[in-house]
Structure formats: C-alpha cells, structure tokens
Symmetry: C2
Subunit: 255 residues, 2 copies
C-alpha cells in the first residue's frame, strides 16, 4: 500500500508545487516508485514536468467527476519510476460541482486505493484554496505536509488550517497527521529568523527538522522541466530536499 | 463615481494583498479617499489593517449572499481617508453558492455602485482562485492590475488570465482593461532580469512602467499593521508604490 503525502496550504506561493516535484524526485533517487498527483487548476506540476496542460485530454478531473480509473490517466515523466496524474484548467469544474455529491470527499482516496500499480509514495499537490478538491486530498492523506514561509501571512494560514485538520479527522480521516516544512528560508533575514524561532516554539515536534532555504536554482529548474536534484545535483536545494526525503522515509516507516 | 481597481492573479504569493494596501495608502497620501475591499477567505487584507478576521461578524460575504448594504460593513482603518470592507473565513461559502444565482457576477458591482459615500478609488484584493468571487471583482473593475513575479509559473498564469479577461469582457464588463505590475523584483537575479525583459517584449504597453523590487521592510510592515509608506516612508518600496500611485492616477484621468 502506497504512503500518501498531501502538500497543502491555503497561503499562495509557499512552494507547494516546487516541494512536490523536488521531494518526489528525491524519493525516486533513493529507490522508491513515486506518483505525483496534480490537483491545481493552475496545473503548475503538470507544466513543470514538461506537459502542456492545454493538451491534457483526460486528467484527475475525469477521475473525480466521472469515475475514470486513475491508472488510465497516469503518464510517464521521462524520469524512471516517477509518474504523474496530470491536471488541466477544468479543475475549477470539480471545485464547483463535487460538493453536490454525497461522500464527495472520499472520491480521490477510493481512486488511489484501487490503483492496480504499486507505488511506494503518492504525493498530491494542492491549489491555494481550501475547497472540495483540497478536502479530497486531506481525506486521502497519511501525512499532510504544510509548506510555509517564515512570514506573517503564511504563519497565520497555519493557524486556520488547524481547524480544517480537526474537521477532516472527525469526518473522514481520523488518522491524518501533519508536519510543517519551512521553505524559501533566508537565514540572513532578521524577520525570517525571528518567525522561524516562533514556529519552532509554537509547533515543536509538528515542525520537520529539514528546512529548505532560498535557492535561485529552483527557479531555473522550474523552467527546464527537470527536478532540482537532476538539474543541479550539488545545489543547496538539492541537498536539502534529499534530507527532507530521508526524514519523510523515516517518518513513514514509524507509522 | 469611484474608479474601481481589481488586484487579481490566480498565481499565489505574487503580492496581491501587499500591493492593495500599499497602493491604497499611497493614493490616500496624495489626497484621495480610498475604500479597500477584501474578497479573500484568508482575509490577509483585513488582518494586515489590524482587524482579527474571526471577530468580523458582518463582512463582504453578507453583501454578496444576503444583499446587506456595503456601507453597513465598511470600517475605519485608523488612517484618515482609508476605509476597509473586511472579509472573514466564510468567504468560501460565497465561492460555493454564488454560482447558483443568475446574474451572480454583477452582485459586487451593484453593491459598490449603490454606495452613498463617495470614494475616489476602490481597490479590491482577490484570492488566488478564479472562481465566482474573483469574477465579481473583474465585472466591477474599471482597471485590472495583475501583480506578477518575474518567474516561470507567474508568467504562465498571465497567459491563462487573458482567456478569462476576454470572457468577462464579452459577458459582463465590455470596458475591462488590464495592466501588469512587476512585483518582488530582484535586479541582481539573472532569471528575474531575463523574464522581466520577456514580459516587456510580450506585453509592451500592457506592463505598468512602475515596478516594485524585493524589500524586506514590506515583510515588517505586514506584521505591524501599518502600510509601508507610513512605517518606512523613505524605503525603496514606499517610493516605488508612490510612483505606482502616480501612474494609476494618470491612467484613471485619461479614461
Ligand atoms: N526555496 C526556493 N528558493 C527560491 N525560489 C523558490 C523556492 N521554492 C519555490 N521557489 C519559487 O517561488 C515561486 C513559488 O513557488 P511555488 O509555485 O512552488 O509555490 P506554490 O505554493 O505551489 O504556489 P501556488 O500557491 O500558486 O500553488 C516559484 O516561482 C518557485 O520557482
Ligand atoms: N516587494 C516585496 N518584497 C519583499 N517581500 C514581499 C514583497 N511583496 C510582498 N512580499 C511578501 O511576500 C509574501 C506574499 O505577498 P502577499 O501575501 O501580498 O501575496 P498575495 O498574492 O496576496 O498572496 P495570496 O495568493 O496568498 O493571496 C508576503 O509575506 C509579503 O509580506
Ligand atoms: Mg502550486
Ligand atoms: Mg493575498
């Protein structure tokens, strides 16, 4: 049974998509078979792995709205053992009409549980919106990773998210656990250092030990369609996402 | 009649909220009376101006869903001539149920047009989601300002937005015009410089002359609840947002 990781935060631009790709590739590098699932109508994950979202005929939207089997929409990425379930700009349709179906929050979990292929990890990238689509991802998750910047609005968003986690635990996923990932961290910035300490004292064990610092090479790799660990294997970001992959693998083993 | 500016981009974290506050304050400083409207369920605009969203009983949600008069929810901000129509975390409800009402996209425009008070400018902050709430803001707008970073996913988002602008023009707001604002620009970064040139050659006059560079003082001012031009009046960001205000005032005069 695959270990399912959801990457979500209502706050926009906190490195959800970048973390999904980078962590996925680092897990593949250490020998795992990984499926990445794009739930965002922006389809940045699909785009970053080299597929033009406009050209995607069948996507996760069909899986959620028409019970299309997930395995029929999975594509290769050109990187062995890394696969993607792509999104396209129809995802807004799912956001609007899913809530009209009873039990809608379980649709993604059912689709992932009935996959014939065996993956070691499934990582789900979410839109910056806490609607029906993200609730599906929280219901399906073994672990919720919340990327956050050490900035005021991002930290405020975590507080809000705690309420949603409690609700999902009581309604559809009692074993949902979360871990916070500090991203885009600039150690030279006083605000970043102060707010990172605040995160540490507020969340203690809820915060992953691994953190990802600002690294402009991540911007370059999103343009070329290659995950950072392949494009710049010795970069600071590649090293830090490998450490994150190790920590996540340890965490998954303990579960 | 107030000049209505909508600040929107599906891409998250491109400085929509920061630009709304900073531009609003710079317009007030040059003698205008300004209303800021928070349409985001994150309610970062409301929070940044010192109001705890959990304590907001009546918000823009009531205006959209129950035809509450806009003037009855407008609050002062402590800065003379700067007012706010606050949001709270119920805005997700509007996102879900507005589309069931025919003509739903005109609700915000009607509410703003029937305001008894006279404002010179109304600036609307949007969530990073192109749903019913953002469509209301596009329908109400005289000018759409699209903040963007000089980064790959942000620029891709602009391409998508052009389709939505065409649709809104043909359905509910024929005179909608847009201008792109380059934000969080780091002139030392090669990717930023290259992609900024690309933006210039692709969009030419569609790009505002003013640009806002990376300035950590903006992070500080979002914590204290004071717009940058009051907290750090001589900072680079304060100077750049004042220049933006001048350019917008020129543009509004020509219309
Ligand atoms: N550690 C980092 N250092 C430098 N740039 C980064 C880093 N992580 C992400 N970025 C860049 O920051 C921007 C935002 O990241 P990304 O798009 O992954 O965030 P997101 O949370 O997925 O955004 P959205 O809310 O729009 O889905 C992107 O342009 C990305 O290339
Ligand atoms: N020019 C700038 N220099 C440095 N930091 C900035 C700048 N503009 C915005 N920021 C910071 O970047 C983060 C993102 O900005 P902001 O929250 O305004 O973006 P947004 O587009 O409103 O995000 P969302 O999509 O979540 O609504 C905030 O923490 C803000 O303080
Ligand atoms: Mg993303
Ligand atoms: Mg915002």
């Amino acid at each position: 049974m695959a270990y399912i990781i959801t990457i979500a935060n209502e706050k926009g631009g906190v490195s959800k998509t970048t973390s999904t790709i980078s962590l996925g590739a680092a897990l593949v590098e250490s020998g795992s078979k990984v499926l990445l699932v794009d739930l965002d109508s922006q389809a940045n994950l699909t785009l970053a792995l080299g597929t033009e979202p406009e050209k995607v005929q069948r996507s996760v939207v069909n899986v959620l709205m028409e019970s299309t089997p997930m395995s029929s929409i999975i594509q290769e990425t050109g990187i062995p053992n890394l696969f993607i379930a792509p999104s396209n700009h129809e995802m807004g349709v799912a956001e609007r009409f899913l809530p009209t179906r009873s039990g809608y929050e379980q649709l993604l979990r059912k689709a992932l549980y009935s996959l014939p292929e065996s993956f070691d990890f499934i990582i789900i990238d979410c839109p910056p919106f806490m609607g029906a689509v993200t609730i599906n991802a929280l219901t399906a998750a073994d672990l919720l990773v919340i990327p956050t910047q050490a900035e005021y609005f991002s930290i405020y968003a975590i507080r809000n998210m705690m309420g949603l986690i409690r609700r999902v635990r009581s309604q559809s996923n009692p074993t949902l656990t979360y871990r916070i990932l500090l991203t885009m961290f600039d150690r030279r910035n006083r605000i970043h250092r102060t707010l990172a300490e605040q995160l540490h004292s507020t969340f203690a064990n809820g915060l992953l030990t691994s953190r990802v610092e600002i690294d402009t090479k991540l911007r370059e790799s999103s343009i070329t369609g290659l995950p950072i660990i392949y494009q710049f294997p010795k970069s600071r970001a590649a090293i830090q996402y490998r450490a994150l992959a190790q920590e996540i693998m340890e965490y998954a083993k303990e579960e």
